[in-house]
């Protein structure tokens, strides 16, 4: 099928995409010229406790703007071929730095603290995404990650307040598994539309946790919804590496768990018998079924596992950072996790990258709020979601989901 054609005809879609990327560069250049050059002064980026580097906001804005015009011209005239994605990543990163310089012009801020915060905030998105990958790779669409995160956050807050942090987390895990069991029975045994069940679970979780929050947790705040979250664990030696060490190795156990989960999921999916079967039942379950693999049993198991992983992600809010549960504390992070799944093309490492991008948007929002940039705070709150839409719609384009996702398997 993939023999070289003598004269390669480029499809209309490819041409259109190359053009829209070029136009995007031009738009970014305009933003540089007309926005990023408006605030005078140098911006200080603190990269350790004591040192920082500075960027002249206006000068950087002009320079980047001119560079982007050149890049746009090259893109529109002949394209970058194989380097297209590298150029895109470099341009995006420079644009991001220019944006920060503009926001912090005449002031300074902890760049390293922002990135450390990013890694911490990526935890529930990453773990939610691993849950999503485990489900969809087995052929079950799981949009109820949000509900699993929220319900687990609620129960783990209560559990940890009443007992200890470990038991609290375990209760969160069991909560995630319980919701996953509902999804599994409905979609595997009763073959109900998986998206509808997912929606129902999300609304159920939102309703019940709001009820518990108002009726139980608010009146009993001190006994049932108050705990001391875990403290960061410094990894010896590694944490002493300047910059990098602070970002990655001075974090809570939740962060280490989420990295371990990514590594384990990657190894499991691509290097084990379980992974081979899981990928097979998500792509073409009949192939596995006719070879004697029990498709539905494996789907049950993987969904429960997904619920457990999402449960740890939910426990991150009360136990990993905030110290209590608030109504709708997850605020759509479960859906952002699903965007990370698509961003990462159903691969755990890709999903981790996606989670980091989304978490970065959130961390930036929190930092920018301290500066007087003139951006209304409502717009800043939208940032992670806007980034989600732009990333999923613009940069990812068409990606290939597991073929059998959403289809019940007929066992006969």
């Amino acid at each position: 099928m993939t023999t070289a054609m003598p004269e390669r005809v480029v499809s209309a879609e490819q041409r259109k995409r190359a053009r829209s990327v070029g136009i995007t560069y031009l738009v970014l250049a305009m933003v540089c010229f007309f926005v990023f050059t408006r605030r005078p002064g140098d911006a200080g980026f603190r990269i350790t406790e004591t040192s920082q580097f500075t960027l002249p906001a206006q000068g950087f804005g002009w320079a980047l703007g001119i560079a982007l015009v050149a890049v746009a011209a090259a893109q529109l005239l002949r394209g970058f071929g194989r380097l297209a994605n590298v150029v895109l990543a470099l341009a995006t990163a420079s644009f991001f730095m220019s944006f920060l310089a503009w926001a912090a012009a005449g002031d300074s801020f902890s760049f390293v603290g922002m990135l450390q915060d990013t890694v911490s905030r990526s935890v529930p998105i990453t773990l939610g995404a691993i849950g999503g990958i485990l489900s969809e790779r087995s052929g079950v669409i799981n949009i109820s990650i949000e509900g699993m995160l929220l319900a687990a956050a609620c129960t783990s807050a209560i559990g940890a307040s009443l007992t200890n942090l470990w038991l609290g987390t375990l209760i969160g895990v069991l909560t995630g598994m319980a919701l996953a069991a509902i999804l599994a029975v409905m979609s595997i045994r009763y073959k109900v539309d998986q998206v509808i069940v997912g929606f129902a679970i999300n609304f159920f979780a939102l309703g019940i946790t709001s009820f518990i929050s108002f009726r139980v947790l608010v009146p009993n705040r001190d006994t049932m919804n108050s705990l001391l979250p875990v403290t960061p664990i410094r990894i010896p030696l590694l944490a002493d590496i300047p910059f990098i060490g602070t970002i990655f190795f001075d974090q809570t156990i939740f962060v280490y768990f989420s990295f371990a989960a990514v590594a384990l999921a990657t190894w499991g999916l691509y290097r084990t018998k379980w992974g081979l079967r899981t990928r097979a039942i998500g792509e073409y379950p009949k192939a596995a079924g006719t070879l004697g693999v029990d498709v539905n049993k494996l789907r049950y198991r993987n969904l429960l596992l997904a619920g457990a992983v999402a449960g740890v992600g939910g426990a991150w809010w009360p136990i990993g950072i905030v110290g209590r549960f608030d109504q709708n504390i997850t605020n759509g992070r479960g859906f952002i996790a699903l965007a990370a799944v698509i961003f990462g093309r159903w691969h755990p490492v890709g999903a981790l990258c996606g989670a980091l991008v989304f978490a970065l948007a959130e961390a930036v929002r929190l930092k920018i709020g301290n500066f007087d940039t003139g951006i209304p705070s409502e717009f800043l709150i939208m940032a992670p979601y806007v980034v989600t839409i732009i990333v999923v719609a613009g940069f990812i384009g068409a990606s290939r989901a597991p073929k059998a996702a959403g289809q019940p398997y007929e066992d006969q």
Binding site: M1, T2, T3, M5, R8, V9, V10, S11, A12, E13, Q14, W267, R271, T272, K273, W274, G275, L276, R277, R279, A280, E283, Y284, K286, A287, A288, G289, T290, L291, G292, V293, D294, A398, K403, Q412
Partner: protein, 507 residues
């Protein structure tokens, strides 16, 4: 080893798919199971393979009764199945597909992919199957995919190998290779059940033939002592016409002109590559080719369901390249799509509604937003009678009809209009012999009435017997334009595989 089915009965709501079927096969022989679509062949094989449980009857191996509750049991008992639709995961490698379910493992359940590779190499070398364990399935031609399926079965040490319609997707030369593989399996002491509806192949390869009709075994035959028409008669229950009856074509001027037409997939693959041809009034042009060589996309471009990347299409000298499917219909084109149930019919809607589906907007059937259902009803009753659609009630959903009758609904709807060009894709796929005869006769009738007809089919016999001129498609290009009376099946087969018969001039 001797494998027996005794008195197998399997009922589904409304039908008896298998009616006390007896069948036996031993290692070292080839049994052909022959019957029309819907005769119960697939149900029987699913019983044999543990996918269905029979309502009555039992399976025995060397006389001992067996109770299969899943394919795993059947595999353990030494039965292997090569399904008609390959059970391969397209995005995985050959080795991964082959070991799925019997994975060699190292520590912590890790997959020993090197061992898997070695196992594939060993089996494929032993039976001369020539497979690369690291190739990705979706990159492989169909014939190679079938060999992967065979390796899968051999790896599980199957004593009885069942092939369900194995030749449907193969070129003539691949079929010959396939027969060699079957012979080597038998020589190695395995038994083969060969399910097919192609009489010639059953006669070539089988030691014994069992004929299935309406769920029952209606006859047994030994290939040396029988003929094609005898078996066909057993299959259908009456004498059948195996060849298409038609007069010499009298072609007129060009009705359909296709010039340098290309279709490009969104991912950049060129699937139809600069195709040019003409179809004249009063002739049937057939397009032959192995499935997946651009025929589907060509028909989609012709019917307006997909935009062409380059080139033009004209009907009676009017350029319709940018017309919508409805405008092409209005220009006199009839389209019988290849997927009856997804493209040809709305199966949940009634037979009557389906019969007026392309004409509901005509003044005859509607005024403004109001449908004239009484006219539609009268018209559909006429069509049901004229096109021999077997139904008691045209207000029933189209899904209640058999495949052959569903196809007649489409043929009636498309050919009953005043048309100048008919494009028929796979017009007889999966329908019974009686309906095939009927559909072919209708197509020839249209031709004799001066309609230009383009038939696309992967059944070589159909293209050869129906067409007045045959074009062969290979990898998106038309590689041959021949007179079916002057070339052999084998020569066309070579074109279909991308080579050229010895002595043939470049086209």
């Amino acid at each position: 080893m001797k494998f027996e089915l005794r008195g197998i009965t399997k009922r589904f709501p409304g039908i008896v798919a298998n009616d006390s079927v007896d069948l036996e096969v031993s290692t070292g022989e080839v049994l052909a199971l022959i019957g029309e679509n819907g005769a119960g062949k697939s149900t029987l094989m699913n019983v044999l393979y543990g996918i269905y449980r029979p309502d009555e009857g039992e399976l025995r191996i060397d006389g001992a009764p067996q109770h299969f509750s899943s394919p795993a049991d059947a595999i353990a008992a030494g039965i292997g199945m090569v399904h008609q639709h390959f059970m391969l995961v397209p995005v995985m490698t050959v080795a991964e597909n082959v070991v799925l379910g019997v994975e060699p493992t190292g520590r912590f359940g890790s997959l020993d992919i090197n061992e898997a590779r070695r196992m594939v190499k060993e089996v494929s070398e032993k039976y001369n199957l020539d497979l690369d364990p690291d190739a990705i399935i979706e990159d492989l031609p169909v014939g190679v995919r079938q060999r992967v399926e065979i390796v899968k079965v051999l790896m599980r040490d199957a004593k009885i190998v069942v092939f369900d319609e194995p030749t449907a997707v193969l070129t003539p030369s691949e079929i010959l290779e396939f027969f060699e593989i079957v012979r080597s399996l038998v020589a190695a002491g395995r038994g083969v059940i060969f399910i097919t509806h192609k009489l010639k192949e059953a006669l070539t390869i089988a030691d014994r033939i069992n004929v299935l009709r309406r769920g029952k075994v209606v006859g047994e035959a030994i290939p040396k002592k029988t003929t094609e028409s005898e078996i066909a008669e057993m299959m259908v229950g009456r004498a059948v016409q195996l060849i298409v009856n038609k007069k010499q074509a009298v072609p007129g001027e060009a009705m359909l002109k296709v010039d340098n037409l290309s279709v490009v997939e969104p991912d950049g693959r060129t699937v139809v590559d600069g195709v040019s041809f003409e179809v004249r009034t009063g002739e049937i042009v057939g397009i032959a080719g192995v499935q997946g060589n651009g025929q589907t996309e060509l028909v989609e471009a012709l019917s307006g369901m997909r935009r062409a990347a380059t080139g033009s299409i004209s009907i009676a000298d009017r350029d319709v390249s940018h017309d919508s499917p409805r405008e092409r219909h209005a220009a006199g084109m009839a389209h019988i799509p290849e997927d009856r149930q997804r493209q040809g019919l709305v199966t949940e809607m009634s037979i009557m509604e389906n019969l007026v589906l392309t004409r509901y907007h005509d003044a005859e059937f509607s005024s403004g937003i109001r449908m004239k259902w009484d006219v539609a009803k009268a018209r559909s009753n006429e069509l049901v009678a004229a096109y021999d659609i077997r139904t008691n009630d045209p207000s029933q959903p189209a899904s209640t009809l058999s495949g052959g009758n569903q196809q007649k609904v489409i043929v009636a709807r498309e050919l009953s209009r005043d048309i100048r060009l008919a494009v028929a894709a796979q017009p007889t796929r999966g329908i019974d012999v009686g309906s095939i005869e009927y559909v072919h006769a209708q197509i020839v009738k249209e031709r004799d009435a001066g309609v230009a007809v383009l038939v696309v089919s992967t059944e070589l016999d159909e293209v050869m017997s129906l067409s007045d001129r045959v074009l062969v498609m290979y990898r998106g290009k038309i590689v041959a334009d021949v007179d079916p009376k002057k070339v052999s099946h084998m020569d066309i087969g070579l074109y279909m595989a991308g080579s050229r018969p010895a002595g043939a001039a470049a086209s």
